[in-house]
Amino acid sequence: MTHRGSRVLRVGSLSRVEGEGALHLRVHGGRVSEARLQIYEPPRFFEAFLRGRAYTEPPDITARVCGICPVAYQMSACAAVEDACGVSVGGQLAELRRLLYCGEWIESQTLHIYLLHAPDFLGCVSVIDLARTHRADVERGLRLKQTGNALMELLGGRAIHPVNVRVGGFHRAPTREELRPLYERLKRAMDDAWATVRWVSRFDFPDAACDEDFFALSEAGRYAIAAGTPTVLPGDGGPQRAFPVRDFSEHVVERQVPHSTGLQSELDGRRHLTGSLARYAINGRLLSPPARQAAREAGLGPVCRNPFRSIVVRAVEVLYAIDEAMRIIDAYERPPRPSVEVPPRAGTGHGATEAPRGLLYHRYTLDADGTVTDARLVPPTAQNQGAIEEDLRRLVQGAMDDGDPGDTELTALCERVIRNHDPCISCSTHFLELTVERV
């Protein structure tokens, strides 16, 4: 194998990720000197045009940041606006929100597992290609994904950009009878979820470990989805710590880099990772008994730091979301009204929820009549970008040390590394604090 001293590898368009991005890798004398995940998704200026909108509008408007996790945007927007107005939504309405979010977890995580990620482990270019050799597996994945969509369609009106969510709750709350058929369907989906965990846990995983601080919401007594306290599990073995959502911007500081329209961020001055690996490490003991059993059978310890195995954690989370959705439906009593009153007032509100890809933070400042005067959205991918680049640098370095792979092989490895993190690149939004990088 030849060993070239210096080369630049460019992957023009990343495939099987959500949104558009490219990769730039620079290698000097066998050392990876630079690994840049470049987001060239054009900016869409959400934070600019949210100013001047009514406080009731962010749930519908910010859903359009991402077609793959619209519920996450709707839920973080509602939480932030309600916080600004001093209203909290509890009881069955909060449970219904969690139920809708379970639908998005099932749909979006299954999409990632089967359509974007699994083909990497089985040497296929796409799910269509995969269906040629693994037809039954693909059909199971599509069935499972459809169950998540059915839940979103019933509760939200449609799976992409649901219409039924509003500040204060819902436009219409379903009856128990309407939810019942869904319960039966989820029960059948449990078999598919178990089969998914078993299927992905037998994939061949490269050895790898990330050392980032994990960052996820935590909630007393249950696996955090639609609410919770931002919690950090340090990568260096230090003690877990938490801070109130309102202090988010003091801890997560974003900076703009020349090569990306998405921003990069640090948590208390360090690289951090949000998403399934972080959620599982911080909240894993709060999974339901079947989900804990699935994690055990799949060979996951209490903490999983191998990004390639994130597909297993996602499969466990799908199983949990199904179990949780069944629990909520079973205990559901239709609330007397589909939403609570949220009178506007001047102030700033903060909201964070767990998008399938990780913690999503919104902040809005309202004036007395409820007009938005300032908006800030911090999506998970912007937070994860530094961790993804470090993963790329480390794994490419490892591959170079083991014998210089060719460009095709290296490109495939890099794409896999990026897909491990389920990046959602459409959510390139904005920024706050400036650091100029001089290369």
């Binding site: 869409r44 600019a48 045009f49 359009r64 991402c66 269509i128 290609d129 449609r158 219409v163 436009h171």
Partner: protein, 263 residues
């Protein structure tokens, strides 16, 4: 060599929701893959066929000089070009910049606006190249998408009626939210396709499918006022996901002139 027609899916500035609609066709996806060759679809496949393609589906609006160039390339390598969704068909939500100062937007969002390349406008694909068919919706409807692809395969015109959401409410048996409850609703001027979900969930239509083929906004706006919206509310309602669609843009600009404030 495959004898199947080649399908390509492209993305410009957008949320990915419309191309996701294709992946949400769980029941049809594998059947479809036996009838067309999915030759280029970055979100779904890492194999990319350089074309030419029989049918290109384009999601997203043109907001950069590079994308304006890209859309010309897509046109050149596509026998038929269909836009999918409000962004590709009407400029999308990001077309709100067309009514504002993009320099101010850029400075409000980015500390280093000079790093950010963008055009002053977000425009539909049809502003740049000829388009064979435009499928409306934010997001598009799955059934309509299947109809468009099927029609193409059969060499016929897609059966996508241009009537309003009101027809779908009637068909669904939903009681009119405006008549029964005085709820402001854009249904009378909004293109059908969603199945009239908002009224079925007890809210007025917010126009995410854009204008129907014949609209009468001057007649609807007084009704929206009667139902409790002030001009600023009406302006906001028209300026959301299809703000730059001609019928909505015209009406909102007229209101803006009277009102003198821009949301």
């Amino acid at each position: 060599m495959s004898a199947l027609p080649k399908l390509a899916v492209w993305k410009l500035a957008s949320c990915d929701g419309c191309q996701l609609t294709l992946l949400d066709c769980e029941d049809e996806l594998l059947t479809l893959s036996g009838q067309v060759e999915i030759a280029h679809f970055l979100e779904a496949s890492s194999a990319a066929d350089p074309g030419p393609y029989d049918l290109s589906l384009v999601e997203g609006s043109v907001t950069t000089a590079a994308d304006a160039e890209r859309v010309r390339h897509i046109r050149a390598v596509s026998r038929r070009l269909v836009t999918i969704g409000a962004c590709a068909t009407a400029g999308g939500i990001q077309a709100l910049r067309n009514f504002a100062d993009v320099e101010e937007f850029r400075a409000a969002v980015y500390a280093r606006p000079d790093y950010i390349e963008t055009l002053a406008t977000s425009t539909p694909v049809s502003a740049h190249v000829p388009v064979d068919f435009e499928l409306q919706g934010c997001p598009i409807d799955r059934r309509q998408l299947i109809e468009v692809i099927t029609a193409h395969l059969a060499g016929r015109k897609p059966g996508i009626p241009g009537h309003s959401v009101c027809f779908e409410c009637k068909r669904r048996g939903t009681v009119c939210v405006t008549v029964a409850h005085g709820t402001p609703c854009l249904g009378p001027v909004t293109h059908a396709g969603c199945g009239a979900i908002c009224p079925a969930y007890g809210r007025g239509c917010y126009g995410c499918f854009g204008p129907s083929s014949s609209t009468n906004l001057p007649a609807l706006i007084p009704r929206l006022r009667t139902d409790g919206l002030d001009d600023r509310d009406v302006l906001r309602l028209l300026r959301t996901f299809n703000a730059y669609a001609p019928a909505f843009a015209e009406a909102s600009t007229a209101l803006d002139r009277d009102e003198g404030s821009t949301p």
